[in-house]
Amino acid sequence: MVKLSVNNRNIEAKSGDTILSVLKRNGIKVPTLCHLEGLFPSGACRMCVVEVEGLPGLVPSCAYPVQDGMRIQTHSPRAVRARKTIVELLLADHPDDCLYCVRNGDCDLQNLAEELGVRQRRYAGKKSMHQIDSSSPSLIRDPAKCILCGKCVRVCEEIQGVSAIDFIGRGSRARVGPAFDEGLNVSSCINCGQCVTVCPTGALREQSALKDVIDALNDPGKFVVVQHAPSVSVTLGEEFGIKPGTDMIGAMTTALRRLGFDRVFDTSFSADLTIMEEGSELVKRIREGGPLPLLTSCSPGWIKFVEQFYPELIGHVSSCKSPQQMLGAIAKSYFAEREGIDPARMYSVSIMPCTAKKFEAERPELSSGGLADVDAVLTTREAARLIRMRGLDLNSLPPEPADTPFGERSSAGKLFGVSGGVMEAAARSAHYLLTGEEMADPVIKSLRGLDGIKEATITIGGLELGLAVASGLANARKLLDQIRAGRKDLHFMEVMTCPGGCIAGGGQPVSSDPNAIRARMKSLYAIDTGAANRVSHRNKQIQKIYEEFLGEPLGERSHKLLHTRYVTRDVMI
């Protein structure tokens, strides 16, 4: 324990803590632009500088450890003037187009300028010239708005293990981008959008599909269906100022219907369908001897990752399409046939917590008869924009139920939204498939929570199954390298691209609340706990679609509509 004084108040702190963490714990807010919780401080932005008695310059609180007897002033005129000057300097090389910016009202730089009372253009000068990179199907990079905080670079490298982008050049010509100043589309970018969620400004955003969706909604000749991913109902509310983790499923359905969507479906339904197919695939592989472990295939960032970096493990990946694509595929076949709609007239929209889903929807193999399974993907953020644009207030809309036939779901399907959820759902159904009985306790505690790697061993009918769950691809790398090196005890491995799963996806609301992810997770667990049906195979509509249309899991029709293949990708490594 050390004793120090902050703004003339005495405080106790653990030695070794940084000044910033001590300040936070004591309710003193010092602004940061480059700080990333849990990673080594980079000390780049200098916004968090404080005055420490006896030290010559101002000290970056994010990187400096507290020492006994330290006397700190966090908001002395000198510190505040430094922060203000830094913001002014950033603005001097900024496009100044807040009104046109997607992050208007939700931008760290804008907020700081406001907080610090920036009211004049003190430092005028030349602005750097940059080109916007809109080559990626998922993301747009606008380097002119980039303040070089480096968070995207570090997330891409340290959290995702991808390193598609890095700093380029030096000094005032420094910039962030892929190798050779190329576009993201030819880089190793896996489209996960984690960079977007950490970006303090509008330098990184999703490639928006809003215009296409609005055009489709306005087109009387189109039959527009929409699906929403399991995690979206517990995160959308944050865009409307509602407490993180609040389940807005009813109001959201109402809103989507009022926007003009002809049918509102739930991707959790096709998550149940995925479990039927993938569970059967697992059982088949266990019976027929591999290749094991089976790797999940729901997360499109992860799929591109494995195609690029672990092509020799492609055979391990489940051939199941992701729930988004499964729903798209059966909407344009089973549903269209049943309702007598020409599939070519049908426009399929999905609302996803994810930017990589935009890339996935464009994959040519995820289509049939020349029609894409999914036509447009909106992120949670874009969906919120659409709802606001139409003047709908999510807070006051009466709840409505989803449409049949793809509105019904088990809570197992809903768990797809959180890391470990696919595994739990699969275990429940695999247990039934192997033994004919339900699991006594459907919850596998060790697979829950925000840890990057979670493992469990369960016994089903005398068979011991090794399960592993990874989220954040740097964590996945660790497990994959073990498998590469010969680890043999795993049967099934779930990989989610984003740390914590889809609740923290690259398309989710950019939250300033550090506990938001935890609240979202809790909410999904609560939905599962209170659900009437907690297993995919008891979903009535699932049973019905197999009876009426698909036949059996892994059957011929399933194979054609619900399964896919992968390619080795040679990227600029």
Partner: protein
């Protein structure tokens, strides 16, 4: 006091694990069959106190080569072959008096060695004809060296009495330009590797650190951190591996001390490194050296190989059980890599961007291991301290700064070159006594010290005694030792602009105040020096506004930047603002450059009476601003003129006037 110390050392020498001199003498006796060879004979031979045939020394350091020493060397070799003269030709490093390059020394048997200046290839034959005939061309001679075993030349001054050399205290440079840098034996004959052998046999690592601390040796790279303490901190941190890094990146424009030391006396650095590595417990050391110094790199390569084959490096040094490998890493051109954490990142193969400290490299440095980064000159001081004692070292200097400092003297000064003076010497002594003052009868204006992190010192402060603290007090800093002298034709606003331009290009771009702030400071200075003809109404307003915020910007950059480069980036502006405010004001308010150096603030006029209408200026003008018919007086369009001065350069009649 100094006497007894030496005696003590001599006594100890017998107890050493291995005496490097004995090593070579024995080798000659055993391997080359020179059975009659004694220690004394070998020493006299290798120190060139006694020679059997003439020796010609050519200074082929980088400055020498730049002045044509390569061609001189060829001419000498041709002369010797053609005339069938038996003589040894030795390439040496730089003795420091760059302005007189190419330098050729000649030593005849039994006589003192002579130094000659500006021996370009065309002068070789005359010089050699003369000297071999016993006639020394007095207009080319700089002086004679001292040699206890040879006769002196009459009427030729001693080199150490030359005004350039007399006020110097040469310790680090003592053998530069004198010995053959490619011959380990010569180094040993002059006392080399004695200190290392002794250190390994007599002292524990922490005792070495204490000795260095006691001597008061501070980092010569700029910061002035006590060297012994730095190594002790690394030594005290438990670790399975520690690293010593020698910073030879010498990125300051205007500095070339490290290059000269390495080119002229590479083993001195290696010995210093070996002692420092032992002191901090490192078995692996790196030399981070600029790729722009190919000659220095090859000298080091060779020297490391020689030292290794003699057992002075590698495994089990001098049989002491200690190991040391030295690896050369070529820098790739980034000024910021002079900052130690950036340098470490660069060696690791990363972008050379600094990181926050703590943790300091002594705790977690290269590859996460305790690391000490020391500068070339610091390390080159180490052998003498161990050899002659901490007291010998600290006798010279000021209260806070001990020993000597090497400076690279350049700019508007008569004797450009490398000088080494005792700490506490005044700038006036360096500039006027050693450097010979300002050429062309111009007036002294300032001396820039400390490179881009330093400042400009006006006439009024020429009498301060140089040390780390006194320089800081007047807004400059020691830096690595570049001294650039400026006269009345140098514009101080232009100099500030020059440094800001340098800094904003060399900023790593990581932290915002340095990256964005230096760029804006440069723009403010550019506006001040931009001519009115290229300025529209808003610019004038911005010009005044910029000046108003210059100081505020500077103080925030100093206060918040991540590393030393950023923190000191505003210094050149602040120091010129402090001492040469009137020049700034002339630029801002009167729109004129008193030094006549800022082209856009000059006006050019063709004197109609002088102009013969030769059209040369009109052809040369890059802006097509000169009009006129052939054979008729020309005139300049002021609106088009960009002030480049090309017309002045080409006019053969002196018809273009500048004001």
């Amino acid at each position: 006091m100094a006497e007894t110390l030496t005696e003590k050392k001599l006594m100890v020498k017998k107890a050493m694990i291995g005496d490097p001199v004995d090593y070579f003498v024995e080798r000659h006796v055993k391997e080359f069959g020179e059975s009659s060879l004694t220690r004394e004979i070998w020493l006299a031979r290798k120190r060139r106190e006694e020679i059997v045939r003439p020796v010609l020394f050519v200074g082929t350091g980088t400055c020498g080569l730049g002045a044509g020493a390569g061609r001189t060397l060829k001419a000498i070799l041709r002369y010797l072959t053609e005339r069938r003269v038996e003589a040894d030709v030795v390439e040496v490093g730089c003795i420091g008096i760059c302005v007189e390059e190419p330098l050729v020394d000649i030593q005849l048997s039994g006589k003192n060695r002579l130094s000659f200046r500006q021996i370009t290839e065309d002068r070789v034959a005359d010089l050699l004809d003369g000297v071999f005939a016993g006639k020394v061309p007095s207009e080319r001679v700089i002086g004679q060296h001292r040699n206890p075993k040879a006769a002196s030349w009459d009427d030729i001054p001693y080199l150490d009495e030359h005004p350039f050399f007399a006020p110097q205290t040469r310790r680090v440079l003592v053998r530069c330009g004198l010995i053959n840098p490619r011959d380990l034996e010569e180094y040993v004959a002059h006392g080399g590797y004695r200190a290392l052998a002794e250190t390994l046999s007599r002292y524990t690592p922490s005792e070495v650190c204490e000795q260095i601390e006691k001597s008061g040796l501070r980092g010569r790279g700029g910061g002035g951190f006590p060297a012994g303490l730095k190594w002790k901190l690394a030594l005290q941190k438990p670790a399975d591996q520690r690293y010593l890094i020698c910073n030879a990146d010498e990125g300051d424009p205007g500095a070339f001390m490290d290059r000269a030391v390495i080119e002229g006396d590479p083993h001195r650095l290696i010995e210093g490194m070996a002692i420092a590595a032992y002191a901090m417990g490192a078995t692996r050391a790196y030399i981070y050296i600029r790729a722009e110094y190919p000659l220095a790199i090859s000298r080091l390569d060779e020297a490391i190989a020689q030292a290794r084959s003699a057992g002075f490096l590698g495994k089990n040094l001098f049989g002491s059980g200690n190991d040391l490998e030295i690896v050369i890493k070529k820098g790739a051109g980034a000024f910021v890599c002079g900052e130690e954490t950036a340098l470490i990142h660069s060696i690791e193969g990363r972008r050379g961007m600094p990181r926050p400290k703590p943790p300091f490299p002594s705790e977690s440095g290269l590859f996460g291991k305790p690391t000490a980064v020391s500068n070339v000159e610091t390390l080159a001081n180490v052998p003498d301290i161990l050899d002659r004692g901490a007291d010998w070292f600290s006798v010279i200097g000021t209260e806070t700064s001990k020993g000597t400092k090497v400076f690279a003297l350049s700019g508007k000064i008569r004797y450009t070159g490398l000088v080494e003076v005792a700490m506490g010497t005044t700038l006036r002594q360096i500039v006027f006594d050693i450097g010979g003052g300002i050429p062309e009868n111009r007036a002294y204006k300032a001396v820039q010290i400390g490179g881009p992190s330093g400042g400009c010192i006006p006439e009024a402060h020429l009498d301060i005694q140089i040390d780390y603290e006194s320089l800081k007090r007047i807004g400059a800093m020691m830096g690595s030792g570049g001294l650039v002298v400026m006269d009345e034709t140098t514009c101080m606003v232009d100099i500030a602009k020059y440094f800001m331009d340098f800094i904003q290009r060399e900023s790593c771009g990581k932290c915002i105040p340095c990256r964005e702030g230096t760029r804006r400071m440069l723009e403010i200075l550019e506006r001040i020096t931009r001519g009115r003809r290229n300025e529209n109404g808003v610019d004038a307003l911005e010009r005044f506004k910029g000046v108003m915020y210059l100081a505020r910007l500077a103080s925030v950059i100093q206060d918040t930047s991540l590393c030393g480069l950023g923190k000191s980036a505003p210094n050149p502006v602040l120091s010129t603002l402090r001492w040469f405010r009137d020049e700034y004001e002339a630029h801002i308010y009167e729109r004129r450059c008193p030094a006549g150096a800022c082209p856009e603030l000059l006006t050019y006029l063709i004197d109609e009476d002088q102009c013969r209408g030769c059209t040369l200026c009109a052809k040369q003008c890059p802006a097509e601003a000169i009009l006129g018919k052939p054979k008729a007086p020309h005139y300049i369009l002021p609106d088009k003129c960009i002030g480049c001065g090309a017309c002045v350069d080409v006019c053969r009649f002196g018809a273009v006037n500048v004001s």
